[in-house]
Amino acid sequence: MTRAWIPIVLLCAALLLAAALSLAVGPLPWSAVDRMVLELRALRLLAGVAAGASLAVAGVLMQGLFRNPLASPSVTGVTAGAGLGAMLTLMVVDGAAAAWLGWLPREFWLPFGGIAGALAALALLLALARRCGGERGGGELASVLLIGLMLSLLLSAIAGYVLALGANRFALGRALIAFSLGGLDGAATARVAMTLPLVGVGVVAAWAWGRPLDLLLSGETEAQALGVDVARVRRWTLVWTAVLSATAVVLGGGVPFVCLVVPNALRAWVGPAHRPLIVLAAIGGAAFLTLADVAARVLATGQGEIPLGVITALIGAPFFLWFFRRLARA
């Protein structure tokens, strides 16, 4: 019992350290930091904590559902859907629709766009999987995976086209590129306030589905024999993955590898049971992304900060290669 608390205590300590660094580190020296700068940094910290927790927990859900440590929300197409939704929103709000969307501040539209994009991609995925479903009628897991990959590629291609279209307008082009590279520097109060409750609900919901996901580790037939409604678990796991991925995309843009690195590192440490893993992934993901954001600021050049997605990829890719080697040996 005592040992079970050690990872929680260590990860909480890491998160506190990351939070302190996030508040202290920036282009201005600590002596010059006034209340306004501190509020901006606190907002950025909150965005990092929420996005990191969302990504890591979404990764745990996907890896549990597919029984594969290499699965991530991107294989379902919902991350690409959220990204496309957010980019289209940036384009529409910046363009001709700006006049009649003015009744709500711009910052409110981005979360709507991202979450709508993710849910639309999810609805399409479930509908197509049901049509291609096997003998259980709810859409077999292999169908979900293949259709999700196809959707992901399709939506990413469309997002690339949106990026090309936006390049004609300087401000919009910069916003779209910054969004696709990922970063927390654009975190605004409205965006963070709108997404934080969703992250909280999403993490609690993920924890609630942790037990049936444990049973699914035995495969669908055994889980069903033990009383799991497999189609229902699959559907809701995908829904909460979509919500968590969309909030992370809205807060931090495209940030790769968090959903792979954090769950796999923690699983190797504390084991595969989902409920403890989800709690630890939420804390660990928050700490990881906050530290990555600190690194993005520390390593800033004259051209500005290193994009957050580049930092997570620089950490994530070597980890992933190491993990893959370890998996192959096992």
């Binding site: 444990d214 495969g219 037939t221 055994e222 024999a225 009383g227 084991g271």
Partner: protein, 254 residues
């Protein structure tokens, strides 16, 4: 167990047809497994034993016919109710995650929603029943084939289900544990549970069963008391071998 419980435990298959992957694997199979009986299903490879077990557990929809648990079609029960009433033990588990054995056996309590202490007691009893208490803290992935098989049986016992379906549960067990499992299954049957076991070993089937069902190509070739089914004619027809005459079990080419 009282009489209403034993009626609820009874399993019946009426003219069951089953298709898997576009291939018909069961052709009008009927079987009655009353509570208190130990029914053994035998048959050559590919005869449909595992498909029959999956259909009986309500895990595969039949294309025609009915699978009844007590008076209710097994597929009409909710997922949880079905899991409380029927337990299924596969030949091998698809579990490849390093969960502790105790957590694996506790999966059997998922459908119950009882208190943690009641669940813990059921898990301990189930592990003790298969001589597996010493394995409780081990990771499932580190177990030998026979140990894993005993843990899967414990998981089924932890459900407390009145009907137990076991698909070749002794295939990886040593002789000591085979005998112990046979005794355990007989005790459970005597206590009013319905036990259906798919087996390859005819000697084991002979000693264990109160009734035997011989499947060939998805059809029942013979059914009844062991000494009426495991005899020269049906065994030659099903497996293409002759029983060694004069008692004992052995087979010769025809």
């Amino acid at each position: 167990m009282n009489s209403s419980t034993t009626v609820a435990n009874a399993l019946r298959l009426d003219e069951v047809h089953l298709s898997r992957g576009g291939r018909n694997v069961l052709h009008g199979v009927s079987l009655s497994a009353p509570a208190g009986a130990l029914t053994v299903v035998i048959g050559p490879n590919g005869s449909g034993k595992s498909s029959l077990m999956l259909a009986a557990a309500g895990l595969l929809p039949v294309t025609r016919g009915a699978v009844l648990l007590g008076d209710a079609p097994v597929r009409a029960l909710s997922h949880r109710e079905r899991a409380q009433r029927v337990a299924y033990v596969p030949q091998r588990s698809d579990l490849t995650a390093a969960l502790p054995v105790r957590a694996v056996v506790a999966m059997g309590r998922y459908a119950h929603g009882t208190s943690p202490s009641a669940d813990a007691a059921a898990v301990t009893d189930a592990l003790a029943a298969v001589d597996g208490l010493h394995l409780a803290a081990r990771a499932f992935t580190t177990l030998s084939g026979g140990e894993a098989q005993r843990v899967l049986i414990a998981r089924a016992l932890a459900t407390g289900a009145g009907t137990l379906l076991l698909d070749e549960p002794t295939s990886a067990l040593d002789v000591g544990h085979r005998v112990a499992l046979g005794a355990l299954l007989r005790r459970l049957a005597t206590a009013g549970r319905t036990i259906v076991v798919a087996l390859h070993d005819l000697a084991e089937a002979q000693t264990l069963a109160t009734q035997v069902v011989l499947l060939v190509d998805g059809r029942v070739l013979a059914a009844g008391a062991p000494d009426t089914v495991i005899t020269e004619g049906p065994i030659l027809a099903a497996y293409g071998v002759r029983l060694v005459p004069g008692g004992g079990f052995g087979y010769t080419a025809p």
